[in-house]
Amino acid sequence: MAQEKIRVLVAKPGLDGHDRGAKVIARALRDAGMEVIYTGLRQTPEQIAEAALQEDVDVVGLSILSGAHRHLFPRVVEALRRKGLGDVLVIGGGIIPTEDVPELKRQGIAELFGPGTPTAKVVEFIRKMVGAERESGRDVEP
């Protein structure tokens, strides 16, 4: 039984234009066999949630280097919930001080990947989380 590919939306919320990390991750996820869609720069939380809905993704990966993560990451989670996408796995990366991590996790970001994280670690995390959900019966292709 062939399982559908994991679909990931890589998004840049806020005004920050540095997308090297986002694009490197996007390419690594694609090389690992996932379907990857990139939103481009300067997306509002609502735009990201709408793209997640349209593209029917399993995962939303957010990247911010400007320090606006505490403000914007939770808003993306909220916007996804409002669209009924509360099950979508949300992960984040960028320049995120360790002390901000517990609060972001409490607000629904499943994991945060700081600078120096090997892309393999992100791939493994997504496979584990999305795979576990699929085994529990959700989203499994007939």
Partner: protein, 546 residues
């Protein structure tokens, strides 16, 4: 050479293998075991190196270089409100910094006021928030503009910030002719690598050339552009790509200005550059020398510039932010030190050294002081600044210099064939070359082919975070309140008249700068001014192709 390779080398290799089968630079180029005069057989001293202060400037742009004066020590700084950044500027000046460099927050960089919905969460974060002239007055309070040179990292709304700076000068009684500094104003690299664009390329280029023309008349000592490889490198380019894409952008600006009717020597001497200093020490030294020589040849050969000052590539350098690690952050002090040393050995005119904590947050006061001290140690204690271009004649450095120039020239030819840098950017060529290099670099780290100390080798259990700089969350609120006060106090009629005149100029062919100055002096906001330009020019949206 063969006798050596076949004899002693072979014998040694039989006993001890070398550490790798294949030694490579960050650009992917092979590094040979040894370089000898054979590698330099084609180099002609006078033609290719010459003397410092003379064409082709390979050995430096001034005849005495640092023996006369050190490079400008210019730490990029800005966060929170104008008051806080003003205090940081004064702190840096007290510690011996010799030039100012302003970091603006993202809303300012994209032409939004602090009360714009898209500014939420971003006000004062990566730089200082500037909404009106009043903020810039506060930023430079107590700092006489005739006594400092100021670099402003601003691109899409460069015209607005330049006008504000000029207006602050007037308020301080400093005539525009006496103002000294640089406005980055390099929009092409925004599309290619950094992402803080507003308008489409065509009108953006017109704003750039309006600034060239305006400054040639009004601000003759001002550097009208800083053509920036820094961000191209941070986005993942190799050393060769950094030189190639930066100079290709430089060619596009010169071409645009010539097509707008300017004479090349009227603006050529005011062009300046901005490069990155990365990890591969000797390749970086060679890169600066190669860039200088290639630009001299382009300006003299291709554009027929007559003034030797138009041939000179003068540049600011920043150490490579992307090489800093969140792991074992004190190691970053050492990385920055040799990157800074490479910039000095490469003949930079101005230098920013990164702080050890920048992979975690904005630099704290302690960290930025160590970064500045790094420059002072190189200047005063290392001795490398006492003679000019001391690595010249090294078989390896000269070979690298020749190779980087040749490969960058090859790239420029490919870009020319596509119709120049703007066309190459529009079709995504430059972005995809940069992205490929970024991905290759990441793969090398993950496979262990490239060692990053503390990241993929010599890891330790990390301690908790040290004291990091936090931007006061109240900044945004205070900034919005200040903006509201100024809007209430100003003469609304004067603002409307100035903005109307600006719209007329933008729709026609008049230089927009005098109108922007008038608007700024009436306390029109950065957002209002750039909304007029958005209305006339439209907005740019980049491709989301991966």
């Amino acid at each position: 050479m063969t006798a050596w390779t076949e004899g002693p080398v072979k014998k040694t290799l039989a006993k001890f293998a070398e550490q790798k089968e294949d030694f490579r630079l960050t650009s992917g180029e092979p590094v040979h075991r040894l370089y000898t005069p054979v590698d330099l057989a084609d180099q002609d001293y006078l033609e290719d190196l010459g003397f410092p202060g003379e064409y082709p400037f390979t050995r430096g742009v001034q005849p005495t270089m640092y023996r006369g004066r050190f490079w400008t020590m210019r730490q990029y700084a800005g966060f929170g409100s104008a008051e806080e950044t003003n205090a940081r500027f004064k702190y840096l000046r007290e510690h011996g910094q010799t030039g100012l460099s302003v970091a603006f927050d993202l809303p300012t960089q994209i032409g939004y006021d602090s009360d714009h919905p898209l500014a939420e969460g971003e006000v004062g974060k990566v730089g200082v928030a500037i909404d009106t002239l009043a903020d810039l007055e506060t930023l430079f309070a107590g700092i006489p503009l005739d006594k400092v040179s100021t670099s402003m990292t601003i691109n899409a709304p460069a015209s607005t910030l330049l006008a504000m700076y000029q207006a602050v000068g007037r308020k301080q009684g400093v005539p525009s002719r006496a103002l000294n500094g640089t406005v980055q104003n390099d929009i092409l690299k925004e599309y290619a690598a950094r992402g803080t664009y507003i308008f489409p390329p065509g009108p953006s280029m017109r704003l750039v050339t309006d600034i060239f023309a305006y400054c040639a008349r009004e601000m003759p000592d001002w550097n009208t552009i800083s053509i920036s490889g820094y961000h191209i490198r941070e986005a993942g380019a190799t050393a060769v790509q950094e030189v190639a894409f930066t100079l290709a952008n430089g060619i596009a600006y010169v071409q645009a200005a010539v097509e707008a009717g300017l004479e090349v020597d009227s603006f050529g001497p005011r062009l300046s550059f901005f490069f990155n200093s990365h990890l591969d020490f000797l390749e970086e030294v060679a890169k600066f020398r190669a860039a200088r020589r290639l630009w001299a040849r382009i300006m003299r050969g291709r554009f027929g510039a007559k003034n030797p000052r138009s041939w000179m590539l003068r540049f600011h350098t920043q150490t490579a932010g992307v090489t800093l690690t969140a792991q074992q952050p004190d190691n970053n002090i050492i990385r920055v030190a040799w990157q800074a040393m490479a910039a000095v050995l490469g003949g930079t005119q101005s230098l920013h050294t990164n702080s050890r904590d920048e992979a975690l947050a904005l630099p704290s006061e302690d960290s930025v002081r160590i970064a500045l001290r790094t420059q002072q140690l190189i200047a005063h204690e290392s001795g490398v600044a006492e003679t000019i271009d001391p690595l010249a004649g090294s078989y390896y450095v000269e070979t690298l210099t020749d190779r980087i120039e040749a490969e960058a020239r090859h790239y420029i030819e490919r870009i020319d064939a596509m119709g120049g840098a703007p066309a190459a950017i529009e079709r995504g060529f430059i972005q995809s070359e940069i992205h490929d290099s970024a991905y290759r670099y990441q793969r090398e780290i993950e496979s262990g082919d490239r060692v990053i100390v503390g990241v993929n080798k010599f890891q330790v259990e990390e301690e908790g975070p040290r004291e990091l700089l936090r931007v006061d969350p109240e900044v945004a609120e205070r900034q919005r309140a200040k903006l509201a006060r100024i809007k209430a106090a100003r003469d609304g009629g004067a603002v409307d008249r100035a903005l109307g005149a600006l719209e007329g100029a933008a729709r026609g062919r008049d230089n927009v700068m005098p109108h922007i100055l008038e608007a700024v002096e009436a306390y029109a906001t950065l957002g209002e001014i750039n909304d007029i330009l958005r209305k006339v020019f439209g907005e740019y949206h980049a491709s989301t192709a991966l």
